[in-house]
């Protein structure tokens, strides 16, 4: 017998480890089991990959799409349709951590390549990912490592590698930044094919030994003729790196932490949780899936329901997935991608290398207006498959009192937990319209419409802003 608690917990896992799931999928996963589902999520290769060729057959311009929102739409398509939700969620995690923006890259296909690289390394070993990142042409150009030369360093990559991508501010010196930068001299991009007349081409990594500074460097107290790989090997071992990465994972998957720049001053909200994750990071030789296995199976994760403000992408994609508003190749992904932009998370174009601020900072007045309007538009659309499923579940329960009507909607949308005052106000509102009845054809269509409106109002609530 499936309990409400099992549904609630599985729904929580799918909101965090993926982009949410409609009630039918949640029920199937409960039958499969919680730990089994975690294992399935951690082993994405066991699930069918997404058939991108099918998408390109419908939308040839998405393949290597040159307009930014074509590249975004291609990614949104994956987030909505993937059978490997955690893999895609981790791609978003790495994008938010290693924030690279088209404002400077001006080559969306190259950013799509970077996203594909994140997908290949989504749940693997952190050192391997950092090496790929250092060789990633978009990243090299974004942080100017192509301008980092033997005898004339450009410290942009070296600085951000330490400050934003691994250790966090306060754990190294300005001298360490310079030495790390020296070690990455010669890591550059092969000469680009000119954009005109044929358009944009993919870029390639090139290592130029003649431009590499091979003299000794002293980095974090160790001296040697370090190359970039050596710097990464030293970095990943640092306690600061384990702590920094685990705080990011906690902030992304468990509960909102203060904004990143305060981390060297403000301790974690749950130090014991971070300690456990950090230990796993080191014990597993820096393996991300191992850390996440501990995270998802922990009590601190299971008890963190609705402790995390949904990011824009989580709200937008989660809404579309629950309503099943889009599936397979069809028109509409581009406008969903644009919606993320308008709500403040322009995918593939973070505001800067420091990425987006998280938690309540996702939601200013302008973003709230758009979040509410977007979700309400989907949930009130009774033609969508996900909304039809909810209607069918409710219909099967026969004539419902306002109380039962509201409880059913909340259960099928999450279950969502509402504060008492929100609950009472919604109840008062629907009570004015009487019982939900299926006795006649006009009653049925009015009841369906009322379900849509109530779902929309729940999705407009403060509570819906949390995952």
């Amino acid at each position: 017998m499936t309990t409400r608690e099992q549904i609630s917990l599985m729904s929580h896992l799918m909101r965090r480890a993926g982009f949410g799931a409609p009630i039918s999928e949640v029920e199937d996963r409960v039958t499969k089991g919680y730990e089994e589902t975690v294992e399935e999520l951690l082993n994405p290769a066991d699930q069918e990959p997404l058939d991108e060729d099918l998408l390109y057959r419908y939308f040839p311009n998405y393949e290597g799409g040159m307009a930014p929102n074509q590249a975004q739409a291609q990614w949104i398509y994956r987030m909505i349709n993937t059978k490997r939700p955690l893999e895609e969620k981790m791609v978003l995690f790495w994008h938010q951590l290693f924030a690279t923006g088209n404002s400077k890259i001006d080559n969306p296909p190259e950013l799509t390549q970077q996203i594909a690289m994140f997908r290949n390394h989504a749940l693997g070993d952190f050192p391997a990912l950092l090496v790929e990142l250092a060789k990633n042409p978009a990243m090299i150009y974004w942080l100017d490592n192509n301008g980092n030369h033997k005898g004339s360093i450009n410290e942009n990559w070296g600085r951000e590698l330490l400050e934003l991508f691994s250790m966090g501010v306060g754990n190294y010196s300005e001298e360490d930044i310079k030495e790390a930068s020296r070690a990455f001299t010669g890591w550059t991009i092969a000469p680009k094919i000119p954009r005109l007349p044929l358009g944009r081409f993919y870029w390639d990594f090139e290592y130029k030994p003649e431009d590499h500074d091979s003299a000794d460097k002293t980095f974090l107290g160790v001296t040697g003729d370090f190359n970039g790989q050596d710097i990464i090997d030293i970095v990943v071992k640092q306690p600061a790196t384990g702590r920094f990465l685990c705080r990011h994972l906690y902030n992304f998957f468990v509960a909102d932490e203060p904004q990143v720049p305060s981390w060297n001053i403000t301790p974690p909200t749950d130090p014991a949780a971070i300690d456990v994750l950090e230990r796993t990071y080191h014990d597993s030789s820096y393996n991300v899936a191992s850390v996440l296995r501990v995270l998802f199976n922990s009590d601190f994760f299971k008890n963190a329901r609705f402790k995390h403000v949904k990011s824009t992408a989580e709200l937008v994609v989660g809404t579309v997935r629950m309503a099943q508003g889009l599936s397979g190749p069809q028109v509409g992904y581009q406008s969903v991608a644009d919606e993320c932009t308008y709500q403040g998370q322009e995918l593939l174009n973070p505001p800067s290398v420091e990425s987006w601020h998280t938690g309540e900072e996702w939601i200013d007045g302008g973003a709230l207006v758009r979040r509410v309007n977007f979700a309400a538009k989907y949930f009130s659309n009774t033609d969508l498959e996900g909304i039809r499923t909810i209607i069918d579940y409710i219909k099967a329960r026969g004539t419902l009192s306002p109380n039962e009507f509201l409880d059913s909607c909340l259960e099928l949308m999450g279950p969502i937990e509402l504060g008492n005052s929100t609950y009472q106000e919604l109840l008062k509102h629907i009570t004015e319209d009487g019982d939900l009845s299926w006795d006649s054809s006009p009653d049925t269509s009015e009841s369906e419409r009322r379900i849509g409106i109530l779902l929309a109002m729940v999705s407009a609530s403060r509570e819906y802003q949390f995952a």
Binding site: N156, P351, S352, G365, G366, E425, A456, A460, R462
Partner: protein, 378 residues
Amino acid sequence: MTATKKDPVVVILQLSGANDPLNTIVPYTNPYYRDNRPKVGIPEDQVIPINEELGFNPNMGPVQKLYEEGKVAIVHGIGYENSPRSHFRSMDIWHTCEPDKVGTEGWLGKVIRDLDPKGSNVLTGVNFGQGLPRALALRGVPVTSVSDLASYGVLSEIPGISSERERDRMLDLFARIYAPTIGTGPVMDYLSHTGQNVLDGADIIRVAPETYSSSIEYADTPIARSLKSVAQVHLANLGTQIFYTQHGSFDTHFNQLPQHTRLWTDVGRAIGDFYSDLQEHNASDNVIMVLFTEFGRRVKDNGTGTDHGAGGIAFVIGDQVKGGMYNEYPSLKPEHLTQGDLEPNYDFRGFYSTVIERWLGLDPVAVVGGTFEQLSFV
């Protein structure tokens, strides 16, 4: 509404990414400039001279024209001690006036609170752009943040709504489910405030583009669209005293000359059009525009661009501004540089204090966290 038509107004334009001061107001006859900028320098014959030492970047024509009219104050050497050269950190410092710890309260949030202590007008502060800058963030202080002026409002596009009456009932319900509830935590409280403000602001601000007409044709650039929205709201007399918008990225590590050219071409033209628009409507004399950036850039170029520096440059533009240059241009002599960067000679908190006290008529001490030397540009 607390403000009247002629209350002082400030328009903040943040140049995000760290604008290069040396190629903005160019020390074009200074041999150290030429020595340090072999690849990323502006030739003497392109500079628009101010005097025999300094001149405008050639793409700043509209700003230079306002300068000629005595309406532009240029503030040299602005910054703070121990500049960290990190965008994120430095922008936070500019936004919160907290150079020594991580601040969460925005200086303009405090200004808005002091302008409108009861929070009676949610449009006292208006941001145009995506995401609210920390400068405007202060818990309990309403600020309206608009990405698109024309379509601002909740529950405006629900297909299943059967009548206007039903929509009104839903808006009423929305207001009630966003009512503050005791003991639900700071984020829920924040969402309550935000939801209430959105409802209050939407009905008022949507009037602005409807009542606006102008002969000025703004360019089709993000900064021009933002400043046009500022003009529309200002001209609608909705009581807005603090406007905020930003443009970027000025983070020109690489390929600086063409990037910087485009940035200042867009910003310069948008500023010129904005002022012409206000003047056409006889609505410019109570407005100043403040341009700032998080820090300057390194004196020596890196071959094609410039790395993060320290001392920067700021501008104040307006009919009532006492035009001219303020503070010494920082020395480029090698022995005067700090880690290769211009040494700031003036604390940005004094700059803010000038705007707060002399223009807005408020006490700056609590806002900026102390007493700092003010300038006389207003």
